[in-house]
Subunit: 353 residues, 4 copies
C-alpha cells in the first residue's frame, strides 16, 4: 500500500494478456510435467494458501507436484515429498508453512546447489517455484543461472521491501498482528498514563513500522530509513501530555542493533515525568492465521506462478501492481530494496496531534 | 484486489503531483476555513479512522471542523456539532461511525437540500466531506451542483462497487469478518460432513462474495453478475464428497430477493445425501474493529480529502489506485458500478478441486 | 458460572481422593487395555482438546486407544481407527471434532446397540469414553446397562444444561463467540440508532442467552425458562431511547419454534419509532478455536475420564464443581436439566438501565 | 480454576442467603448514600465491566457514585468525579480501566491515608469499593481499620493468587491473550522446527503459566512454586524431537529476576541441536477486550459489592466459589497467597508426550 510505482503498468504483461498468450484454451496437460515448490527464509503468513494454490492449479493442469521440506536445505538433501490434492486440504487458514523452512548455508555453496540440481533431476523435475524474501529470491536467481531449471519466484516477506510489487505475501497479516498487539497495549498505556515504546520487525526496512503506526494512531514512528532526533520525540510526547493525552505509543522498527526499543525507552525516561515501558513483539508477527488479503494474494500468486511456468517463463517473480497480477525479471529486483514513502511519517505526525 | 484498471494511471494527478501543486509548502491556514464532515448510508468499518483523519488534518491546517450527525438527515435538520481535536481521540479502532448514519428521504427532495444548504450557510461552512457509497455520493453530486458548497466524496461501502478505485473503505474489514465467520462454520461442517450455504452481503455486487470464497477455499461462489446452474453446483459438491472432502462451503451473495441462501440450501438438499444447512451473516459484516488496511485507507482518504479541499478541488471523489491516492470527478463514477473479474470464479473452482 | 449447587461438595470423591484411591503410584499398564472414544450429537468447541487428552493419558498408561468415527453411527457400523500419540498432535486449538459426529437413529434401536457391542468386542475393547450432551449421555447409559462395556461420559454441550456440573465442555467458547458477534452488531446498532434482536442457540435452555446478555450489556434477555411480556420489553427500550441510548440489543434464545427472533423483531417494530433488525447467529456458535477455559476443561475431563476407567468406575460422568473435578453416576443426571439462575435476568435488567 | 477449596461452602453466606437477608424486597434508597469506587495497582481486563456494574447497581438503589481517578493516589489528592449512569455506557467490552490506576507511595504513609479520608469526608462519602490485587486489598484493609469508611474489596489480578476465591478478575482474559500469542508462535516454531521459550507474567505465582501451558499443549511449564532441573527439560524436548515433534514450546513464569526466559533459552541452546528462541509477552497480557467470563465475573462482583455495602458489610472481599458468589473477611486473605495445584505440572507433562 505504500509506494506508487510510476510506470509500472507499461512493461508488465498483465494477467489478461498472459491468458490471451495461452489462447484462453483450457489447459493442456503437458505430458505429466513435474514441479517442485519450496518455502525458504523466515516464514510469512499466507505461504500455506500459496502452496495450496500451486498444488491445486498444477494438478488441475495434469502436472505432478513435489514439496521440498525445509527450504533450500531440503533441496540440497533431496528431502522432497509428493503433494497430492488432499495434502493441501484445510491449510488455507493456517500460519507458517507446511513444508517447513530454514536458512541454508549449503545452498550458498556451488556444491550445495549442484546437489540440489541432482536431486531435482533424479525425480525428473525441471520446474521450481520458490516462496521467500530477497535472500531466497537471490538464491533462486543464482540457481537458475547455473542449472537448466525453470524457476518462478513468489515474494514473501513481512518486511514488504521487495521492489516492483506493492505487496509481498505476509505483510498485511504481520501488520494486522502488530496492530492487534498495540491495541491491547493502548488499554494499559491509557489506564496508567504511560508511554510505550513498541518494537516491530524490520532490520533495514520501515514498511511494517510505518503501516502499524498509522493504523494504531501512534504518536511517533522510528524507521531505519530516516534519522530522528530524540528531542523531537520528547517534545511531541510532552505536547500530547499537556493537551491531556492519557498514554502515548511509539513504534520502533528493530533496526540492526538488538535492543533498540529498550534504549529508546531508557532515553525517553530521562526526559519524561510519566512511566516509559518497552515491548518487543518479535516472532508474534510471523504467526497466526493469515489475513483474508494474504490468503487471496497467496492464492493468486501461486496459481499465477503455475501459469507462468506453463508459458515457459523463467527467472521471473510474480508481482501485484495496479490492482492486478504481473511479473518481472529477477534482474529487476536483485540488489534493490523497496523504500517506504517518507511522507507517511508526516501523515502519522499530523494525525496524532 | 479484484479488477485491473487499464489506463488508470494516466489521467490521475497522483498524490505526489498534488503535493507539488501545493508547492510542498507547509499548509497555510486559510483564515479559519470551516469544514463539515458526514457519513451516510450503511456504515462501514474504517469510517471512524477517516473522520479522525479529516478532523486532525483540517485542524492541523488551522481549519475548524463540524460533524454532521445522522448523515444527510442531520444536515437537513441542522444537527451539527463542533469536532475539536480530542473528540476523535481513541476512535481509530472502533467500528461504526461516531457521527451516526441514516438514509434520508428528506435530502432527496429539493426542499431538503435547500434546508441543508441554509444550515451550512448559517454556520459559515462552505466545504463538505461526505463518506458513503454510491447513493451517498450521488446525493453529494446533486447537492454540489445546486448549491455553492465545495464537496469531496470518500468511497465507503463494503460492496466495493464504486468505479475507478481499487478499494472502497470498509471492504477489506467486511471480507475479513465474513472469512472469520466461515472459518468457524468450516469446523462444524467438517465435523458433521455437512454442506453449508452461507449468505454474505451484496444485493447487486459480488465482490464481497468472491473475495470471501477465495479466502475460505469455498467450493462455489454465487454472485449477482453471473448466472449459475444448480446442476453444476450439485456435481461439484458430489465430486468433492467422492474424493473424500468432509464438508463443503458455498458462498452466496444475497442478491435482490431475500432468503436466497435458504432457497439454494433447500434445492441442494434435494440432490445431495449429506445434510445441507444455511446461514445469513447479515449485519455482522458491517461491524467490528476495522482491519489495519481500512484504518490506513481511511486515514489516507480523510487526510487527502482535506488536501483536495485546500487545493479548491470540488465535486471529486478520492480513489486508491496503483498503490497510491488519486481522485476522479463525480461524473466519472455516477451511474456506474465496478464489476468483479469473473476470472476469479474460475480460480475459486480450480483451487477447490 | 450460573448456578450454585447446594450440597455438591459432600458427595463427590474429589480428584485428590481419587488419586489417593490409586495410591498415588505411577500408573501400572493394565496389560494393554483397549479403550474407544467417540463424540456424538452437536459438536462443541474443546472436543478435540478432550480427545487429545484421552489419547495421551491412556497411552501414558500403556493402553491402546481407538477413535470411533461419526459418533454412535460409526460405532454401530464399526468405523473405528487406532489413535496413536501423533494422531492428536496440533489439534488442541481446533474447533469441531476430528472424529466427526452425527445423530444416529440406528443406535436408538436395540439391534443398533447390539451391533455396536459386537464391533467393540471384535476389537477387544471393553472401555468407552463418550463426549456429548444429554441425548448422547442417555444413549451411553442405556448401552452400558445392556452390555458389559465400561462407560464414562464427558458432558459436552454449548447449552450447558447438564445437571451436577458447573460447566459442560464448549459452553464458554460458545458464549465467547456469541459475545464477539454481538460486539460487532453493537457498532452498527449504535451508529444507526437501531434495535437489534439477536438469536442465540438454546431450544430449551437459556444459559447461553443469559451469559451472552450479561457480557454484552444487553437491554433484555428472552429465555425458554421464563415468560415475558412484550410491553415490558417495549417500555425498557423506550426508556433507554429517552435517556439517550443510541442502540439497543435484545438477546433471544431460539426456543422450540423456528424464527423467534424475527417474530419478536416484527412485534417490536410495531411499537417503536426506531428501526428494528434481527439476526440469527446459528452454527457460528459451535465453531472456532476453543477458549482457553474449554481447552483446559476438555484436557482435564479427558485425562480424568481415563483415570476413572483405570479405577474401574462405570456409568459415571465427569463434572466440574467447586473449582475441581468430580464425577457422578449417570442416574444423577438422567431426565434432568440444569436450570439457570433467574436472578441473572434481574441483574441484566439492573445493569442496562 | 486451579484449586479445590475444601470447606469453602460452609462459612460463606451465599448470594441467595444474602438476598434473603435483604428480604428479597426491591432495594430501598438509603437516603442518597454516597459511594466511591477506585481501581489500583496493575490494571486487569474486566475492571471496566466491574466499574459499570458498581455504578449501575448503586444508581439503581438510588445512591450516588463517585469515581476516584488514578487509584489510591487520586484518593489522596482528592481527584474524584461523579459517575452518572451514562458515564459507564459502552465500556463493558473495553480493556484497562476508565478510572486509571497507579501505584501510590503516598497512600502507604499515614498522612496520605489521612488525606484520603478527608477527601472522602468532604464529599460525604463513607462507602468505598476497591478493585485490585493483594497490595491494593492490603491498603484497603489498613485504611478501613484506621478510618470510619466502609470498604468492600474486589479481587482483580491476572496472577489469580488471591486466596479463598477460584477466580480473580482479569485472570481468564490474561490466559486467553497468552494462549492466542502462543498459538501464533506455534506456527513459526513448527515451520522452523524451533524451540520457543515464552515468558508470561507471574513474579511469584505460576497460575497464569500453568493454565497457559495446559491450553497450548506446551512441552514444559516453569513456575516459581516448583524447582526444575534443566536436564529434565532438555531430555523432554529431545524425546519430543526424536518422536518427530516439529516445534516445542516452553512456558516460563517471569519470576523475580528479569530476563529468565532468555537465560533458559541460552542454556537450552547449549544442549539442543535445534534453534532456541525466546519471547516475553509482557504487558500484552493485561490488555485487550475482556473475555466473556471476566465481563460477567466483573459484572457480578460489582453488583454484589454494592449489595454487601447495602447490608452494612465492611472489610470483606467478594469471592467466586462453588459456582457462585460469596465473600470473606479481609483477615482471611491477608498475608496469604493462593498456590496452584502442582498436579497440573504432571498433567501438562502427560498430555505433551
Amino acid at each position: 500500500m505504500l509506494r506508487k510505482p510510476k510506470s509500472a503498468s507499461k512493461k508488465r504483461p498483465p494477467d489478461r494478456i498472459l491468458r490471451k498468450m495461452s489462447n484462453g484454451r483450457s489447459p493442456v496437460p503437458t505430458k505429466s510435467l513435474r514441479l517442485a515448490v519450496l518455502s525458504s527464509g523466515g516464514d510469512s503468513p499466507g505461504m500455506n494458501a500459496c502452496i495450496r494454490a500451486v498444488v491445486r492449479s498444477a494438478t488441475f493442469r495434469g502436472w505432478e507436484v513435489f514439496g521440498v521440506k525445509r527450504g533450500y536445505q531440503g533441496l540440497v538433501e533431496g528431502d522432497l515429498i509428493p503433494l497430492p490434492l488432499r495434502s493441501v486440504g484445510n491449510i488455507i487458514q493456517r500460519g507458517g508453512t507446511i513444508l517447513g523452512s530454514s536458512r541454508s548455508a549449503d545452498f550458498r555453496t556451488s556444491e550445495g546447489r549442484r546437489s540440489a540440481f541432482h536431486e531435482l533431476s533424479a525425480l525428473g523435475i525441471s520446474n521450481l517455484i520458490v516462496l521467500g524474501g530477497d535472500g531466497t529470491l537471490k538464491g533462486a536467481s543464482l540457481f537458475s543461472k547455473e542449472f537448466p531449471v525453470r524457476v518462478v519466484g513468489i515474494p514473501c516477506t513481512i518486511d514488504n521491501d521487495i521492489p516492483e510489487t506493492e505487496l509481498a505475501l505476509g505483510f498485511d497479516s504481520a501488520v494486522e498482528t502488530a496492530v492487534e498487539c498495540v491495541d491491547k497495549i493502548r488499554d494499559t498505556a491509557d489506564s496508567h498514563g504511560r508511554v510505550f515504546v513498541i518494537e516491530v520487525m524490520g532490520k533495514v526496512s520501515g514498511h511494517l513500522a510505518l503501516e502499524t503506526s498509522l493504523a494504531v494512531g501512534a504518536e511517533f514512528a522510528l524507521i531505519p530509513e530516516k534519522k530522528f532526533a530524540l528531542s523531537k520525540l520528547v517534545s511531541k510526547i510532552r505536547a500530547g501530555i499537556d493537551r491531556g493525552k492519557k498514554g502515548s505509543i511509539v513504534i520502533v522498527a528493530e533496526g540492526k542493533k538488538p535492543g533498540l526499543s529498550q534504549i529508546i525507552a531508557e532515553q525517553l525516561q530521562k526526559h519524561l515525568p510519566t512511566e516509559v515501558r518497552h515491548l518487543v513483539l518479535g516472532h508474534l508477527q510471523r504467526g497466526g492465521s493469515p489475513s483474508r488479503l494474504d490468503r487471496n494474494l497467496g492464492s493468486r500468486y501461486g496459481d499465477f506462478a503455475v501459469e507462468l511456468l506453463s508459458l515457459k517463463k523463467n527467472r521471473v517473480v510474480t508481482v501485484w501492481r495496479n490492482g492486478g497480477l504481473g511479473y518481472v525479471d529477477f534482474a529487476k529486483i536483485e540488489g534493490k530494496r523497496k523504500k517506504p514513502e517518507l511522507e507517511t511519517l508526516s501523515l502519522i505526525d499530523r494525525l496524532s496531534i
